[in-house]
């Protein structure tokens, strides 16, 4: 057990401001928000990823951690009080995008039970361009992100077609985050 680094300095205020950022990102897909800029999470966790976990994950929301993030497992277990599981869980944290059709998309009766993928990528605001449209976007928006798989656009189209089922995606890089809810339509930019 190694917990050498602190969590939020002010748990209530910091979690509220990160929650606001995730809410903003979900309702305005592709817009970049700052999160966790004062956090010092253990490598390889980025500050934004850590902030999202500290905010959304607790004892009642088990989280699945990709193998390459295992070094941060103790820190997450201690500061979130979360159970780390391998079975299907509401939150999945990864640095490489797993095939979206392998994740739990919920059911038609309970689409809210679907999985949320928290994906840590190398950079947001630079790299490949994607054109976003759909609910929450008056005009087509451009998202620049690096580290998404080459077949991201067709994979996302398949996920979008499942509506009301489907997986929601939170993208984190450094201290920036944005989100792609299942309703957003992504095209190559």
């Amino acid at each position: 057990m190694s917990i050498d680094l602190p969590g939020f300095a002010d748990p209530v205020r910091d979690a509220q401001s990160v929650f606001r950022a995730v809410l903003g990102a979900m309702s305005c897909p592709g817009r970049l928000f700052r999160a966790g800029e004062r956090l010092t999470p253990p490598a390889p966790l980025a500050p934004a990823t850590a902030a999202v976990l500290l905010t959304l994950v607790d004892a009642e929301t088990p989280v699945q951690l990709a193998a390459d993030l295992a070094a941060a497992a103790d820190w997450i277990a201690f500061h979130c009080g979360a159970a780390l599981a391998t079975a299907p869980t509401p939150f999945i944290v990864a640095t490489h995008m797993p095939p979206l059709d392998t994740l739990d998309g919920g059911t038609d009766e309970a689409p809210q039970n679907s999985a949320t993928l928290i994906l840590q990528i190398p950079a947001l605001g630079e790299g490949r361009a994607y054109l976003l449209s759909g609910p929450g976007l008056k005009e087509t928006a451009t998202l620049r992100a690096s580290g998404l798989p080459d077949d991201f656009v067709p994979a996302w189209a398949a996920n979008h077609a499942l509506f009301p089922r489907g997986v929601d995606l939170v993208l984190c890089a450094g201290d920036m985050l944005t989100a792609l809810p299942r309703t957003v339509i992504v095209r190559e930019g």
Binding site: I3, D4, L5, P6, G7, P11, F78, H79
Partner: protein, 157 residues
């Protein structure tokens, strides 16, 4: 596993003593000790509620007795000359954040073999003795009010 063979028996004992001592008592005892190593806060001190559960009925089913305030704190001591750092935890009843933080720092220091003997002698041992004396006095006062049911015993024999 009995209390004697438990791997953390010693730590359990000093954490229990520290949790029962007030912040003022801890501060008073620390005056005579070498200064505690610098610490960074990993979590808290923060106050919350815990559900105290008991056993109900003959079957021993769990019963929620009520909630109590608990303050917890976790600190990490600065690395010593050998590059070792210790993580100290404290859970104390009530809302005294200072008590929780001092107890956590003492827990970290007591894990350090270089500091443990002096703190054990200067802080833990006297506090344990004082707490034992208070318990004995209370038990003595209560024992004086004990009622012996001679009649019942006589009727059964």
């Amino acid at each position: 596993m009995t209390a004697e063979t438990h791997p953390h028996a010693a730590r359990q004992r000093w954490m229990a003593v520290l949790a029962r001592a007030s912040a003022a008592e801890l501060r008073d005892r620390l005056v005579a000790c070498p200064p505690l190593p610098a610490c960074t806060r990993l979590r808290g001190p923060e106050t919350g509620l815990v559900m105290v559960r008991g056993r109900a009925g003959g079957g021993g089913a769990a019963f929620n007795l009520g909630e109590m305030s608990v303050t917890r704190c976790t600190v990490r001591s600065a690395e010593d000359a050998a590059g070792r750092a210790y993580v100290g935890h404290a859970y104390v009843a009530g809302r005294d954040r200072e008590q929780a933080e001092i107890a956590a720092r003492l827990d970290a220091a007591l894990q350090d073999p270089a500091l443990a003997p002096e703190i054990e002698r200067g802080v833990v041992a006297p506090l344990a003795e004082a707490q034992r004396a208070v318990r004995a006095a209370n038990a003595g006062r209560a024992a004086a009010t004990k009622v012996q049911f001679f009649t019942m015993a006589t009727m059964r024999s």
